[in-house]
Amino acid sequence: QNTQDTGSNNSSQASGDLKVSVITHGTAGDAFWSVVKVGAEDAGKQLGVGVTYNSDGDPGAQAKLIDNAVSQKVGGIVVSMANPDALKTSIENAVKAGIPVITINSGSAKSAEFGAMAHVGQEESIAGEEAGKKLKAAGKTKLLCVIHEAGNSGLNQRCDGARSGFGGAVENLQVDISNPTDVEARIKAKLQSDTAVDGVLALNPQVAVNAASAIKGASSKAQVATFDLNADVVSSIKSGEVLFAVDQQQYQQGYLPIVMLKLFKDNANTLGGGKPVLTGPGFVDKSNVDKVAEYAKNGKR
Amino acid sequence: MTSLIETENIGKTYGSVIALSEVSTVVNAGEVTCVLGDNGAGKSTLIKILAGVHQHDQGSFRVEGEEIKFSSPREALDHGIATVYQDLAVVPLMSVWRNFFLGSEPTTRFGFLDSKKGKAVTKKALSDMGIDLRDVEQPVGTLSGGERQCVAIARAVHFGAKVLILDEPTAALGVKQAGVVLKYVAQARDRGLGVVLITHNPHHAYPVGNRFLLLKRGRALGSYEKSEIDINELTRQMAGGAELEALEHELRGVEA
C-alpha cells in the first residue's frame, strides 16, 4: 500500500514509499552530528528517500524517538548507539516489527546482537585512539584532552581512546562549550600551571580555535590537534597552528545507511557482511587540507 | 474565677529594639480588654505574644492559670486563643468557605474534606452575623475590607475560641462597617468570650471596652477599668497625656 506522508519532505513523494528515520544521540547544535544530518539528507534527496532526522542526548528520549519511528511504520531506522543498554528494547522492537535497522557511529559491538542489519562508522574510542597514536608519533609527551560537554559519553570515549593510543600521560579537562571565554581561559590556566603539556586534543573545531588562542596567551609550546573541521581550523592547519584534524568522515555515517536501506529495499542487498563498515578515521593535515577545505565550508566534513 | 489570660511584667526585644517591657494585664471571660497607644507602642507585639506568633523573653504569661509559652499559633489556637489580624486575616485567592475553615477543616469519615458541610456551615455562621453572601465559593479577595474582617471574626467565634484577639479591626473600615464589627465584638463578649481589642479610635474603644491598657514606647502607661476613666480622659491619655493639649490648641487654631 502507498503510505504517503503529507508532512514529510517533497523528495519522499518523488521516490514512492521509502521513508527513513535517522535518530542520533547528538545534542542539538553539535558540530559533528550536524555533518551526519547533512549526509543523510543529501542521500535522501539524491536517492528519492524520505529522510527525517531527530536527535536527543538523553538515552531515554532517544529511545522514545525510536518508538515513535516504529509507530510510524517507517521503512528503515538509522540509529547511533552511544548507550546500547538504553536502546536495546526499542531497537529490538523495531526489528521485531520488521523494520530494517542500521546502527551508526558507536555501539558496533552490540549492533548485530540487537538484530541490526549493519553498522556504519567507527567507535569514538577508536577515533580517539588513532588521534593519540598520531600525536605520539609527532613526538608529544603530555597530552591534554578537552571535554567540552560534561557527561557526554561520546566525548569521554574519545578521550579514553586517546589515552590508550597515546600511551603516555593524558589528562582530561572539562570546559563549557557554551562559554568560549571560559574554554580559552581554562586551557590557558592548565597550560600555565602544567608546563609539561605539549599537546592539546580538542574534540570540536571551536574548541580548537579557543585552544590555539590559549596557547598563544600562555606562551606555551603545545600544539593543537582536533576532531572535525571548520573554515578557521582549515586555515589554522594551513598555517601550522593546528597539527591535524581527525576526520571520521561522518558525512558517510549519514549518507551510507540511506544508500544501504535503499538497496536493501529495492534489491535486497546488504553491505559489510556482518562486520562494521568503517568510515574513518581519516586525518586532515597540511598535506591534504586544500582538498577538503571547500567541503568543510559546506558543512560536509 | 481565674482569668482567661494574665500577663505579668511581660517583655520582648527584637535584636536591639526593646519592643515591650514590663507589661501586665488580664483578660477575663465576658469582658473586652482594649489595648491602646501610639504607632510603634508595642500593641501588635503584645498580641503576637498572646497569639503564639512570637515568644516573650521576660515575665510570665498564664492561660487559665497555667504558665505557658506558645511555640506556634497552632498551640495558641489549641488553647482557645484566636486572633484576627488586620492584614493577615485571610488568603485572598481562596474561596470564602475554605478560608473560613482553614486550619480546622471538616472531614468526612474517610478523611476527605467535607465541602458540603463546610459550605453550609460557613453560610450559616456568616448569616448569623448578618452577612449575606451570594456565593461562599467566591474568592475572599473579591470581598470588601469590612466583609473580610467579618469573615475572620465569624471564623474565630465559630471555632469556639475562648479568647478573641482583634488587631485594629476597624482601621480601614467605613463608619457603618466599623459599627458592624463592633457589634460582633459585643456579641462575642456577651457569649462569654474574652476579647482583646486594639484600636486607635477612642470612639470605637470606649463603647465596648471594660478595661483599657495604655501603652507608650513599649511600656504600660496605665490600665483603667471603664469606671475609672471617661472618654475624654481616655482620648487625652491615648495621645500621650499632656502633650496633646498643645496639639489640640494648634488644631483648634487652624480650624476653618
Partner: protein, 349 residues
C-alpha cells in the same frame, strides 16, 4: 454583597450585564484543555500515525514521564515555591539505584529503597533550607541543582571511570522491580508503558489531595498567603518541606522508571528538564506566584508537551526549530491563560 441584608443580591446595581459564557472559564486548567484539544486536532489532521493506537502509546509515554514531575512541581508551585533541582534529581536517584545495584551488588529493591531515602532527604534539605533561611527557593534550589549536577558527574566518574552506569539487567531483583516500574501492557495489540498508569495515578492522587483534603487546602493557603496561614494554625514549615519531599519523591519515581526501563543512566541526564516541568505547570494554569493552579492542569500541560514533541516528529518537521516552537507555545499559552484568568476574576467580582 452588602453587610446587612437589605436587597436581594441579584439586583446589585453596580454590576453591568453578566455574560453567560463567563461562568465556564473559572477553572485554572480550562486554557490548557483548550490548548490540548487544539494540538491534538492539529496533529491528528496533518499526520497519519498520530491518531493511531501506536502513535498514542508513543506520545502518552512521553507525556507520562514529564507529567509525573509536572504534577509534583505544580503542587510545589501552588504552595508558593520552586524547585530547580527537580530535573537533575531524576538522574541522581537513577544513579544511586544503579551504582548500588551494579557496583555494590545490592538487590534492586533494596537499592530503590536507599535511593528513595536519598531523594526524600535531599527534598527535606531543600525545604528546610528555604524555610530556615527565608531565602527564595529559586536561589536555594539553584544551589542544590548545581551541587547535584556536580555530584552526579563526579561520583559516577569516580566509581565507574566513565560517565554512565549500565549493566542493571544483571542485577538481582531487576525483573520484579522492572515489572512494577517499566513493564508494558497491551491495548488493541499495542504495548503501552506502565508509566502511563503511574502518571494517571499520580495525577489523581495529587488532585484529590489538593481538592479534597485538609493538606490540599493548606497548600493553596501557604502559597497564597503564608503568614496568614501560619496565623490560623496551618503548619507552614512542615507543609512546605513535605511539598519539596513530594517533588523529590516524583523525581525518584521517574528516575526509577528510567533506570529500570533503560537499564543504564548517564551522569548528565535531566539537566534542563526542570524548565519543562515548570512550563508544563504554567501552561496548566499554575501561577508562578503561588496559591493558584491545579494538578490536572499540569498533567494536561505535560500532555500538550508530549503531543507537540512527538507530533513534530510525526509531521516530519525539521527538529532544529523545536525550541522556537516551544518558546512561542509557552508565550501563547501564558497569554491565553492570563486573559482567561482576568476574565474569570472579573466574572467573580
Amino acid at each position: 454583597m452588602t453587610v446587612t441584608a437589605t436587597a436581594p443580591p441579584a439586583a446589585d446595581e453596580r454590576l453591568g450585564k453578566p455574560r453567560a459564557m463567563d461562568q465556564l472559564i473559572k477553572r485554572p486548567e480550562i486554557g490548557a484543555m483548550l490548548g490540548a484539544l487544539l494540538v491534538f486536532l492539529f496533529f491528528s489532521v496533518v499526520t497519519e500515525q498520530f491518531l493511531s493506537v501506536g502513535g498514542a502509546a508513543t506520545w502518552l509515554d512521553d507525556a507520562s514521564m514529564l507529567g509525573i514531575m509536572a504534577v509534583a512541581v505544580a503542587m510545589l508551585m501552588i504552595g508558593g515555591e520552586f524547585d530547580l533541582s527537580a530535573g537533575v534529581m531524576t538522574a541522581s536517584t537513577a544513579l544511586v539505584t544503579a551504582l548500588l545495584a551494579t557496583q555494590l551488588g545490592l538487590n534492586v529493591w533494596l537499592a530503590l529503597l536507599v535511593s528513595l531515602a536519598f531523594a526524600l532527604g535531599v527534598g527535606a534539605l531543600n525545604g528546610w533550607l528555604v524555610m530556615r533561611t527565608g531565602l527564595p527557593s529559586f536561589i536555594v534550589t539553584l544551589g542544590s541543582f548545581l551541587a547535584l549536577q556536580g555530584l552526579n558527574l563526579g561520583v559516577t566518574r569516580l566509581v565507574t571511570g566513565s560517565v554512565q552506569v549500565s549493566g542493571m539487567r544483571e542485577a538481582a531483583g531487576y525483573e520484579s522491580a522492572g515489572f512494577l516500574f517499566a513493564s508494558t501492557f497491551q491495548i488493541g495489540g499495542t504495548s503501552f508503558y506502565v508509566s502511563i498508569i503511574w502518571w494517571v495515578l499520580f495525577t489523581v492522587v495529587a488532585s484529590t489531595v489538593l481538592m479534597r483534603t485538609r493538606f490540599g487546602n493548606w497548600i493553596f493557603a501557604i502559597g497564597g498567603a503564608a503568614q496568614s496561614s501560619r496565623a490560623v494554625g496551618v503548619p507552614v514549615v512542615r507543609s512546605k518541606i513535605l511539598l519539596f519531599m513530594t517533588t523529590a519523591f516524583a523525581a525518584w519515581l521517574v528516575g526509577s522508571i528510567n533506570i529500570l526501563r533503560y537499564a543504564s543512566v548517564q551522569a548528565n541526564q535531566g539537566i534542563g528538564l526542570e524548565f519543562q516541568y515548570i512550563i508544563a505547570a504554567v501552561i496548566g494554569g499554575c501561577l508562578l506566584t503561588g496559591g493558584f493552579g491545579s494538578a490536572v492542569g499540569a498533567a494536561i500541560g505535560a500532555l500538550i508537551f508530549g503531543m507537540a514533541r512527538q507530533g513534530i516528529v510525526y509531521a516530519g518537521w525539521n527538529s532544529d526549530w523545536f525550541q522556537l516552537f516551544l518558546g512561542v507555545m509557552l508565550l501563547a499559552a501564558v497569554l491565553v491563560n492570563n486573559m482567561l484568568r482576568r476574565r474569570a476574576e472579573r466574572v467573580r467580582r
